[in-house]
Symmetry: C3
C-alpha cells in the first residue's frame, strides 16, 4: 500500500478487518517490520487523538517517529511557479516536500480544508503534492476531504459491537457553533457504503455531501425517520459542502437544536449505540446523558484509532 | 504504585532511598520492564527540568514516551456537566481523559495552581479527574499543591551530602517578583516531616503553609534563628497560602530583601549546604556567591530528578 | 571529538569523507555506540532540515533524542553576574546549562546571530557558554557564525558529483528580502579552503566575509567573471558582515537582482551544478528553471545532512 486516503486503498475490507482483530490481540508482534524505519508525522493543524494514536501505532511497530508541527503562520509554503518570493513564504513546496521525504520512510499528513475555496479543497491540492513529490508512501491523518483512519476505526468499532449480521447505521448531522470541514462524514459515508451495513444519511436541506462519497446511500431530511430502528447513530456536524449551491461552501446554514441527539432520538432506535469521532461539543451534538450512557461507544471508538493506524502503517512497511 | 502525589505513596522511605541509590548506579538495568510500555507526559504548563529528566528516566527504563504540550489558551477543557459547549472549550474532560489513557500505560501530569481559587487548587481538581477517569497510573510532574518528584530528588540529595545521622534542614521563604505556587514548599515540608531530619520552617508572618503539609514541623518568623547550625538551607519563594486569611491566597505579602540568602545567612549555619529546586532568580532568592560557591547543591539536586523519576516510573511499571 | 564548530574539528578531511561514504552505505551499522545514549537538541530558532536530519542521524545510531524548543520570548536566560533578576529573565545560564547537560550525553545547539552586536555574535557568546558549562560534547546546528553540518554535507555532495579532480567552486552572493546571518557562507568558505578545490567568492562591494573564514580565497566583485568555467555554483544571501564598516553589520546593502542566478549565469559555467542550503527564495536567489533543472543539487545536498550529522555524532559517541 503506497497511499491511504480512500477505502479502496485497503483492498478487501473483510481482510483488513481480520488484520485489525489480529493486531488488536498482538500489537507488538511486527516490530521487525518497523526496525530502522522512520515515520514523519506532519501537522498543519492541531491534533490530540491522531497525534497520540498514530505515534503509538508506529512505536508498536518498532518504528522511529519524527513529529513536525507546521505552524501555518510561521512557515508558509509557496505553491506557484514563476513567483518572486519576496513575501511571507520562505520556502517552495517543490523543495520542502522532497527534503522531508529524504529523512523518513513513510509520511502521515494532516492538512484541513480551508473552507473558502471548494475546488482547491476537494482537489486535495496540498496532500497531492506530497504524494507526487515526496517519494514516500503517504497516508491521511485528516485532509481537506477525508479522514480514513477515523472511518476505519469506526468500522472496526461497529464490527465489534454489532448484534445483527447487517446492522442499520445512521449518519446524522448535528448543530455546532463553528464551521467544520466535511472530511469525517465524507470518509464515514464512503466506508459505510463499502461495508456490509444498511446505511442512511440524514441532514437538513442544503447539507448534501459530495456524491463521490455518498454514492447510492439513502439520504433523508427527516432525522427521526432515519433513526428509527438504527443500531448505530453516528453524529457529526459539518458545514455546507457546496454541492447544490457552491457559493454556500463552508457556511453554517442551520443551527436547529432539535437535531442535537438526546434520549428522545435514541428512543426510536433499536437499542442504538451512539458514536462520534471526538472532540464533541456537548449540548450541541449530543446531550450529557446520551454520551455518558451505556450505549455510548465514543471511548472504544477512539481507542481503535491505534488499531486502524497500526494496520495501515504495517501494510505500508510491508510494501516498502 | 498506582498514584504518586504524596510521600506516603512511596511506602517505606528508606527502602525507596535504597532503590534510588541502586538505580543511580545502574540506570539501564530495568529495560525489560519498560519494553512496549508508553509514558504520556501531559504539560498544561512550561517545563525544562521536569520534561527532560522525566523523559530521560522513562527512556532509561526502555519505555516509549509521548509528550503532549497543552497550550492552555488553545485547548480548553469543559469540566461542568449540563453545559451547552458553544464557547471556547472544544472538548469535555470526560472524553479527553479516557481517550488519552487509552493510548498509554502511565500518565505524568503537570498542572499548576491558578492561585485565584484556593478551594479548586487545594482539591487538586484537574489532576484528580485524571486519576478518576484515565484508567492509568498517574504521577505528579508538579500539580497545584505538590511536586513530589522534586521533593524525592531533594531527599536523595540530602542523603548523599549529609555528614550527620540526623541533619538540621531549614526551609526558608525568600523574596520573588512574581506570585508563585506552594507546590514545592508543600511537598518539601511533607517529605522532610517523613524523613529522619531535624526540620524547621521559616517565613514572614502570613506565609503559613497548609498544616496538612507542615504537620508538626517547627515554624518560626525569625529567619536567622532558624538558620543557626543548619546543615541544609532550602530556599524557596511562595505566595500567600491563604491559611490564616483566605482572601490573601496567591498574593505577594512581603518583598523584604533581608530574606535573600547571602553569605551573612550562610555564616550562622554549620557549614550548611544551599539547595533550591530551580529555576532560581539570583539577587532575590540567593546571591551569586552563595549559589556558585562550594556549598551549593543546586546542580546535583537537579541531576537527581532523573533518579527520583526513574524510581517512581519503575514502581508503576512493576505494578502494571 | 568534543566540539564541532570548525572544519579543523574533523581532523583529516579525506578520512571524514571516507567515513561519510561508508555511513551512507550502512546507516544502521553503529547502533551499539548509541545505545542508552541521549542527544539533546536545543533550538533557540526554528528549524526544518536540521531538526529532521539530525534527529534521524541520532536514531540511526541507536540513540534516544530529546528536543527542546526554546521560545526565545518565553524563556530568557540571564547572562550577567551580580544582577537582581526581577525582570523577564527567569533563569541564569549558569544553572540552566549544567542542568541540561546532566540529562544527556551530547548536545546539539542552534542559536542564530542577532545581527545587532557584531562582537557578541562573532564571539559565539551563547554557544561558548554551553561548551564551557554543560560538561558535554557540543556541536553546532547553526550558530551565530558557523553551520558546519551544512558545509560538511555540501562537501560530501561536491565529492559525489565532481567530474574533475580539482573542481572550480564559486560561492556567490544573491539578493534577498530579509537580512540573513553569515553562518552558511562563513562555514562554506572555511570548508572549501580546507578542501581540494579551486575556490572563488563573489559578492557586491561591502559584503566581504570575515577573513578568518575566507582565508586566502580569491574574491571578486565581478560575478560573471567568477562563474566562468565553474563546476559548482553555491548561491547564498548574507547581510553585511561589517568587516570593512562595522556600523553596517547586519544591514542589507544591495538588492541588485542581476545577481539572481538564472540560465544566463549558468551558461558561462562548465556545465556547473547549482547548490543552495535551503530554504531558498525563488526569483531572488535563483530562478525556477535553474533550481528545477537537471543541474540542481539542492535535494541530494539536503539529504546529505543526515550523513554529515551521523558522522559527527558517531565520532562524539566514540570519544565519550
Amino acid at each position: 500500500m503506497h497511499t491511504f486516503f480512500n477505502v479502496e486503498d485497503l483492498g478487501c475490507l473483510d481482510k483488513a478487518l481480520d488484520e485489525a482483530r489480529e493486531i488488536k490481540q498482538n500489537r507488538f508482534g511486527y516490530q521487525s517490520l518497523g526496525k530502522n524505519r522512520t515515520l514523519l508525522m506532519i501537522f498543519f493543524n492541531n491534533s490530540l487523538r491522531t497525534r497520540l494514536s498514530t505515534q503509538k501505532a508506529a512505536m508498536n511497530l518498532g518504528m522511529n517517529v519524527n513529529v513536525l508541527d507546521v505552524n501555518a503562520g510561521a512557515w508558509k509554503l509557496e505553491t506557484e511557479r514563476g513567483v518572486i518570493m519576496d513575501g511571507d513564504k520562505s520556502e517552495h513546496l517543490l523543495e520542502a516536500i522532497p527534503v522531508m521525504g529524504s529523512y523518513c520512510d513513510i509520511i502521515g499528513i494532516r492538512s484541513f480544508a480551508g473552507l473558502t475555496d471548494r475546488e482547491f479543497d476537494y482537489a486535495e491540492t496540498i496532500v497531492q503534492q506530497f504524494v507526487k513529490y515526496s517519494g514516500r508512501p503517504v497516508f491521511a491523518m485528516e485532509t481537506a476531504t477525508v479522514h480514513p483512519l477515523q472511518a476505519f476505526a469506526d468500522l472496526i468499532t461497529i464490527e465489534e459491537h454489532k448484534t445483527k449480521a447487517r446492522p442499520k447505521v445512521v449518519l446524522t448531522w448535528a448543530p455546532h457553533c463553528r464551521a467544520l470541514p466535511q472530511a469525517v462524514p465524507d470518509s464515514f459515508a464512503q466506508w459505510m457504503n463499502a461495508a456490509d451495513v444498511d446505511f442512511v444519511i440524514t441532514h437538513p436541506e442544503g447539507y448534501e455531501l459530495d456524491p463521490k462519497f455518498t454514492g447510492n446511500a439513502r439520504i433523508t431530511y427527516n432525522q427521526m425517520e432515519a433513526l428509527e430502528g438504527a443500531d448505530f447513530v453516528y453524529a457529526k456536524n459539518w458545514s455546507c459542502p457546496g454541492v447544490t449551491r457552491p457559493e454556500d461552501y463552508g457556511k453554517i446554514l442551520c443551527k436547529d437544536m432539535s437535531w442535537t441527539i438526546d434520549s428522545r432520538h435514541m428512543a426510536v432506535t433499536d437499542n442504538g449505540k451512539f458514536m462520534h469521532c471526538l472532540p464533541v461539543r456537548r449540548g450541541l451534538i449530543v446531550t450529557d446523558d446520551v454520551i455518558e450512557g451505556p450505549s455510548s461507544l465514543v471511548i472504544p471508538e477512539a481507542a481503535n484509532r491505534e488499531i486502524s493506524a497500526e494496520v495501515v502503517i504495517k501494510r505500508m512497511l510491508e510494501a516498502l
